[in-house]
């Protein structure tokens, strides 16, 4: 790219042809209110101060960067750095967005928040913020996910949230979002829908991105201050795309920095059982935004599959669709098994247990790091810790029982 670019300045409603507001008219007033509240908050130094204080003394920001040389050796002659979002309060990046939106809910005078969750991390973060701010909280979670992430269901209930298992459709994240949207349409007067990723109608993709952009802003400064260079590559897993865009955004106008997003290829990208939306999907409208999605020729959403609940989603945020089309970011599929092997590898080489979602990015670095020149550097968003996944991991590797 020769021309100076200004990709960072791109805000919704549209990213190229993607984004928009494909929702029932019933939600437009709430989306307008959210947008207006956010614009006011953005211009208010008190809001920024309150958010910064919570990030510092509640979330535990800034998160550190850890270099992982033994893990990096698995990916050839390169250096790998982890941005440790797993060390945030509640154990993943999701809290960044939740604290920000909970403050917006307070500003709007809404006493009830609802959220969807896949892995349960966004649900846990939402339940946490609800406890902190004294809000009622209802979390919709696909029944399949309540089973594979049972520990997080217990965490949410302990925090005082109501968890509603969703039994329609594929009983995973997609259907949890449908149910949350139905609740919101019905209760929009007093309820804020605290959407957990950079998907959904405008202004969600912009707001959620902005609250996560602290990941990249901190990382960029930390790399320059502590190491004296910018990484050659950024790597992140992509479900809806929030941790990835959070890391990428501050670097969008650094043309030397390549952006790699890793999607769930499930049982294989050429099988019907995957969640590789950007790699294999077609453009359509799902959950209020135009973007890539997994669908059949009739426009019916196709069920996604991934061993990781947080990536098991047939849609993706519109900004990623745009970054793919303009060739600013590259997206690859990673199978269940690749992810599980990488999860074990990081645990055993570095003593860091990642979430299965995050492990897709680690596996991606192992596979694609080998294509980089010697001495290349990769900064990977370690989006979450693996405690919630111990049952799946235990079964997968036969670690359970006597």
């Amino acid at each position: 790219m020769n021309n100076p670019t200004n990709l960072r300045a791109q805000d919704g409603p549209y990213f190229g042809e993607y984004g928009g507001r494909f929702v029932p008219e019933s939600l437009i007033a709430a989306l307008d209110e959210l947008d207006a509240t956010y614009q006011q908050a953005k211009a208010d130094p008190l809001f920024a101060a309150e958010l910064a204080e919570l990030n510092h003394s509640y979330v535990g920001r800034p998160s550190i960067i850890t270099e992982v040389p033994k893990f990096a050796a698995l990916a050839g002659d390169i250096r790998v750095f982890l941005k440790r979002e797993d060390l945030n309060h509640t154990g993943s990046h999701k809290i960044n967005n939740v604290i920000g939106q909970a403050l917006l809910a307070k500003r709007m005078g809404k006493k009830r928040i609802i959220a969807e969750t896949g892995a349960g991390q966004h649900g846990v973060a939402s339940a946490t913020a609800a406890a902190l701010f004294g809000l009622d909280c209802v979390v919709y979670m696909g029944e399949v996910d309540t089973q594979r992430q049972a520990l997080n269901v217990a965490r949410m209930r302990l925090l005082g949230a109501e968890v509603i298992p969703v039994t329609t459709g594929s009983r995973t994240l997609k259907d949890a979002i449908n149910e949350a949207l139905r609740d919101w349409v019905t209760n929009v007067d007093h309820t804020h829908y605290l959407l957990g990723t950079v998907a959904g109608p405008h202004p969600f993709p912009t707001i959620v991105r902005d609250f996560h952009s602290i990941i990249g802003i901190e990382s960029r400064a930390q790399m320059l201050n502590d190491y004296g260079f910018l990484p050659d590559v950024l790597a992140a897993c992509v479900g809806g795309g929030s941790n990835a865009i959070g890391l990428f955004h501050a670097f969008l106008d650094d043309p030397s920095v390549r952006l790699w997003g890793f999607e769930a290829a499930g049982e294989g990208i050429n099988t019907p059982r995957h969640a590789a939306t950007l790699s294999m999907g077609k453009v359509g409208v799902l959950h209020g935004a135009k973007s890539y999605m997994l669908q059949d020729e009739d426009g019916q959403t196709v069920e996604s599959h991934s061993i990781s609940a947080g990536l098991d989603y047939p849609g993706v945020g519109p900004e990623h669709a745009w970054l793919k089309d303009i060739n600013r970011a590259e997206y690859f599929g990673i199978t269940d098994d690749q992810a599980m092997q990488a999860l074990k590898a990081l645990s055993q080489t570095e003593g860091i247990i990642p979430a299965i979602e995050t492990a897709h990015a680690l596996a991606g670095v192992i596979e694609h790091g080998k294509t980089l020149p010697a001495g290349s550097t990769i900064l990977l968003n370690l989006s979450g810790r693996g405690d919630k996944d111990m049952e799946t991991v235990g079964k997968y590797f036969g670690f359970l029982g006597a």
Partner: protein, 259 residues
């Protein structure tokens, strides 16, 4: 000229209530849905709303969700819509509007969908998740083909948005009676009156029909006292589920006659 508007205005001038009835195409099978729809029109539905089954119907409650899931499970495909529609429009004179979420239409191609709809005798489209702001392609082709296009007007819509929905709608404006999704409710929201008067206050003379949550003859009569028609869906599906075409037609005629 809109046949739907003619029908609604004609009933209004005769001081008769108008009933808009929803039924999903392909539920439980294509043949059975044709029979059910024809029977609905013959027993008192003035405008038929033919639903397109969709995997993610966020505006619909459980009754419609389950029915459309069943239609899909029984093999309904989008290409089946037009023959299904044609069989209905060949049998009855009632205007038939297709109600579809946007993604199936986008995948089929907006213009192609509109042309096939027209060719099958369809009157137009109701688009629950397409607001006029995102509807440029649809506005253009529906003007060219003179198809009805029904946008939503809701209790939370600003007066400006109500006016815009009204001025861009043809056939009727779909006034959402209450905040919420489809499904029968005991009390009809007073808010419905406000939405209707907001639309009328914009100076629009497009008919306004009220939907979401209507399930009794009293409600149909009440809605018709201030609006141009009442839209009923979930109740008809329940009736069909309970007692097939016989109970469905009974339900239609009792709602229509106000008993």
């Amino acid at each position: 000229m809109s046949k739907t508007e003619d029908v609604l205005r004609d009933l209004d001038s005769k001081d008769q209530p108008a009933l808009v009835g929803y039924f999903p195409a392909g539920y439980p099978t294509i043949d059975e849905s044709v029979a059910a729809c024809v029977a609905m029109c013959e027993s008192g539905v003035d405008v038929l709303e033919l639903g397109v089954p969709y995997s993610d119907p966020v505006m619909d409650g459980l009754v419609i969700q389950e029915a459309t899931e069943e239609a899909l499970a029984n093999g309904f495909k989008l290409k089946d819509l037009f023959p299904t529609l044609k069989r209905i429009t060949d049998s009855v004179d009632t205007p038939v509007l297709v109600m579809s979420y946007w993604n199936p239409i986008m995948q089929y191609g907006v213009e192609r969908f509109a042309r096939d709809l027209k060719a099958a005798g369809g009157a137009g489209l109701i688009t629950p998740d397409l607001i006029p702001d995102e509807a440029a392609d649809w506005l253009k082709i529906s003007d060219e083909l003179d198809l009805d296009r029904v946008f939503l007007a809701t209790p939370s819509s600003s007066q400006e948005r109500l006016a815009n929905s009204a001025s861009l709608s043809r056939g009727f404006v779909y006034a959402v009676s209450t905040m919420g999704i489809t499904g029968a409710r005991e009390d009809l929201d007073r808010k419905a009156r406000d939405v209707v008067s907001g639309v009328k206050a914009s100076g629009s003379d497009t008919p306004v029909c009220v939907g979401i949550g209507i399930s009794t003859a009293d409600q149909v009569a009440e809605v018709n006292s201030y609006a141009d028609g009442a839209i009923v869906g979930s109740l008809f599906i329940k009736a069909y589920k309970n007692g097939g075409v016989a109970e469905l037609t009974e339900s239609v005629s009792s709602l229509k006659s106000g008993k």
